[in-house]
């Protein structure tokens, strides 16, 4: 498992796509894009379209997993899941009482697909705490999940304006930089 995070417009998606494409080529595997976003308004639709345009250079099979992750068990290939922050907010809104079970399912999937999974997430823990308890709970859930993902990952990267810093991983992972 490879974990990649960064702020908005940090180049994390482009880096993650490059990682996935290199791995797919090396191991002769298809490319699978696990999309977590829900196009609930026009702006989100545009953001999704921009990501689709960026992926148009390669053959990607897109699987939408805004809540349930089961479809990912049935596919073989290099899976790029993007992104953890939208997925967590989706389940928090839809399942305010049982979100914990979904986090556990997410972790289970990660361990099951450890060999072929690339995970993208956002950095949003470097600001003044929110005065809204819900937002602070969201940040706490994400922080803990990120800690778990980094712990379980083979390689972990932080992207800052296109600069890639490797926090963890074998030297071979540097091939992607």
């Amino acid at each position: 498992m490879i974990f990649i995070s960064g702020g908005v417009r940090s180049g994390k998606s482009a880096f993650a796509e490059t990682c996935a494409q290199s791995l797919a080529e090396r191991y002769q595997q298809p490319l699978i894009y696990a999309a977590t976003a829900v196009a609930f308004d026009e702006e989100m639709q545009q953001r999704i379209q921009r990501h689709q345009y960026d992926r148009a250079t390669h053959q990607w099979q897109t699987i939408e997993v805004p809540y349930h992750l089961q479809p990912l068990y049935d596919v073989d290939g290099i899976i790029l899941l993007e992104c953890v922050t939208t997925w967590v907010s989706n389940i928090l809104y839809k399942y305010p009482t049982t979100w914990h079970d979904y986090i556990e399912q997410f972790k289970k999937l990660c361990l099951h697909k450890k060999e072929t999974l690339i995970i993208v997430s956002n950095e949003l823990l470097h600001e003044v705490p929110s005065k809204y308890a819900e937002t602070e709970q969201y940040r706490q859930i994400l922080g803990k999940l990120h800690q778990w993902l980094v712990q379980e990952s083979d390689a972990a990267y932080a992207c800052t304006f296109g600069h890639i810093h490797q926090w963890k991983g074998a030297p071979t992972c540097k091939d992607f930089c």
């Binding site: 470097h126 600001e127 003044v128 800690q147 993902l149 980094v150 972990a156």
Partner: protein, 128 residues
């Protein structure tokens, strides 16, 4: 002095505790003047910031309290990095954020060891 910083919920306190041998006390958003234990851990040092006229003067006040403590005890200071978000609408939060930046600059300069923690991974910024 050992200064540890990083984002919220990143495992900073767990890392601090892994560095301590012997007795310690943990304070949150508070700087004591004495202690019964040889090691003092101060979490959320950014919460020690009070509203003041001048951010540098306020940061200096906190820094002086920490420096005084260091003459008698092993001090580990933990601070949340709150410097990278959207500018807060609330003036109190803006002051806290600016002052924390000043304070952390002083801490990085004075501390023997400085560590940044990213989701449980420590990175030495200064020291061994």
């Amino acid at each position: 002095m050992h200064f540890i910083f990083g984002g919220a919920y990143n495992g900073k306190t767990a890392y601090a505790l892994s560095q301590v041998s012997g007795d310690y006390t943990v304070h949150t958003g508070f700087i004591p003047t004495t202690s019964d234990t040889p090691t003092i851990i101060i979490r959320h040092v950014e919460q020690c910031i009070q509203q003041a006229q001048d951010e540098v003067a306020e940061a200096t006040r906190i820094m002086n309290a920490l420096t005084a403590l260091c003459t008698k005890y092993d001090v580990i200071v933990i601070g949340n990095d709150i410097s990278r978000g959207v500018v807060p609408l609330d003036a109190t939060q803006r002051f806290q954020r600016d002052c924390a930046g000043r304070l952390y600059q002083m801490l990085v300069q004075h501390a023997t060891n400085v560590t940044q923690v990213w989701y449980g991974i420590p990175q030495t910024i200064k020291g061994e």
